[in-house]
Symmetry: C2
Subunit: 222 residues, 2 copies
C-alpha cells in the first residue's frame, strides 16, 4: 500500500510551471503582479484606476481570472490594452498552468506590466504561484479588522496590502489601525496603502510602488 | 496506466460521510443549517442575532469553522450554548468528515437547531455537503451586485440568500434589485431576505423561516 501525497504533488508541479512562467516574464522584462482578494474587495476597480494612471508610462496587459462570466474583462477591455480572460469553471484560484495556457494570447515583447486578477477568494489563491514577481492583496474595510488573524496566509504571502473603501469608515465599526497592526504582526514587511477606489484617495503611493518595482526589474541583471 | 479521478473520489467519499451525518441529525430531530459567505459578509453577527432572538424557543448549538483562530467561537461562547470550534489549518471549507469529528463534542439529544458557520469563502464551501438540511448564504452589499453571475454555484446550492449591510446602501453604487434579479436568474427558488445585522432591520422573516423549517422537521416522518 503506497500513500500518494496528492496535495504535495500538485503544489510541486505548480511550482515548477510557475517558475517556467517567471523565467519567460523575466526574459521579456515584464513585471508581473498577482492581485488577490475577497469577492467584491475592489480588484477590478483598482485595475481600472491603475491602468488609467499608468498607461502613458507603461505598456500594461491584464489577465482576468473568473470562475465564469466575462464581466471583469469587459470592464477592462474598454482601455484598449492587451487582455486575456481565463474562466476556471469551478476552480477557486488561478495556477501556473492556467497562466501558461494564456501566454500565447499575449505579446510579451510589447508589455512592461502584466496584472493578473485572481479569482475572488481570500484563501486558496495564496497557495498557488503563477510566475508573478509580487503578490498584492486588497482587503476592503467592510470585511472587518479581524481578517489578518483569520486568513493569515494571504497576508504572509503578499508584498502589498491595499486597504480599500476607506470612504466607508465612518459607517463601519471597523478600525483601520487594527487592520494595520494585525497585518504587520502576521507580516512585518508588508507595504500598506489605505485607499478608496470610489473617491480615488490614497492611490499615488500604490502607483509609485509599481513604478519603483518596474525600474528595479529593468535594472536587474537578466 | 490507470487514470485516478481524484477530485470525483473526494467528493463521493464526502457525500457518503455527509449522508451519515444527516441520518444522525434526523434521528435526533436536529435542524442543521450550513451558513456560508465571503470573509466579512456578516456570518458571525448573524449567528449572534439569531441566537439572541431564538434561544427561548429553540435549543441552539453552533459549530464554528475557521482556518485558524478562535475569534468567532469566543464571540458565540458568551451566549452559553453548545459550541465546537473546528480549525481547518489551511483548508478553505468544511467537509463531512470534519463535522463527523465534531459530533462527539455535541449533545444532540439536547439540540433543536445546529448552525454551522463555514470558512469565509464564496467558492469552495458550496461544493461540500456536511450533513445539513439547508445551505444558507449571506452576501453583503459592499461585495457588489454582480456576484450571482460570477459565483453562481453558491447561489444555486443555497435555499436562502441573506443580503446583509443594507444600511450601507446609500453610500454604495450597488443595486439591491439587481442582486435579487441576478440571484433569481441563477436560482428561482431562493428565499431572499435583505437585512442589516448592524441596525437589526429585516431579521424577522429570517427568524420565521428557521422556525417554520424546524416545525416541518419535527412533523416529518423519521
Amino acid at each position: 500500500m503506497v500513500k500518494i501525497p496528492v496535495v504535495k504533488d500538485i503544489l510541486e508541479v505548480n511550482e515548477r510551471i510557475a517558475l517556467e512562467n517567471k523565467e519567460l516574464f523575466d526574459k521579456h522584462k515584464v513585471l508581473v503582479i498577482n492581485l488577490m482578494g475577497s469577492p467584491g474587495s475592489g480588484k477590478t476597480s483598482l485595475l481600472e484606476l491603475t491602468i488609467s494612471a499608468l498607461k502613458e508610462k507603461l505598456s500594461i496587459g491584464v489577465i482576468e481570472g473568473d470562475i465564469q462570466s466575462m464581466l471583469d474583462a469587459e470592464r477592462i477591455n474598454k482601455y484598449g490594452i492587451q487582455i486575456v480572460q481565463i474562466n476556471t469553471y469551478g476552480a477557486c484560484h488561478l495556477d501556473g498552468n492556467m497562466i501558461r495556457d494564456a501566454l500565447p494570447s499575449l505579446n510579451l515583447e510589447k508589455l512592461d506590466l502584466l496584472m493578473v486578477e485572481n479569482v475572488g477568494n481570500l484563501v486558496c489563491p495564496a497557495e498557488f504561484k503563477i510566475g508573478e514577481d509580487y503578490k498584492v492583496m486588497i482587503l476592503s474595510m467592510p470585511e472587518g479588522d479581524d481578517k489578518p488573524i483569520k486568513y493569515p496566509l494571504m497576508f504572509q504571502e503578499s508584498s502589498v496590502l491595499l486597504i480599500n473603501k476607506i470612504d466607508l469608515a465612518p459607517y463601519l465599526g471597523v478600525s483601520i489601525e487594527r487592520i494595520k497592526n494585525e497585518s504587520f504582526r502576521v507580516n512585518p514587511r508588508l507595504a500598506i496603502f489605505p485607499i478608496s477606489c470610489r473617491t480615488k484617495q490614497g492611490l499615488e503611493p500604490w502607483f509609485d510602488w509599481i513604478l519603483r518595482r518596474y525600474k528595479e526589474k529593468m535594472n536587474a541583471q537578466s
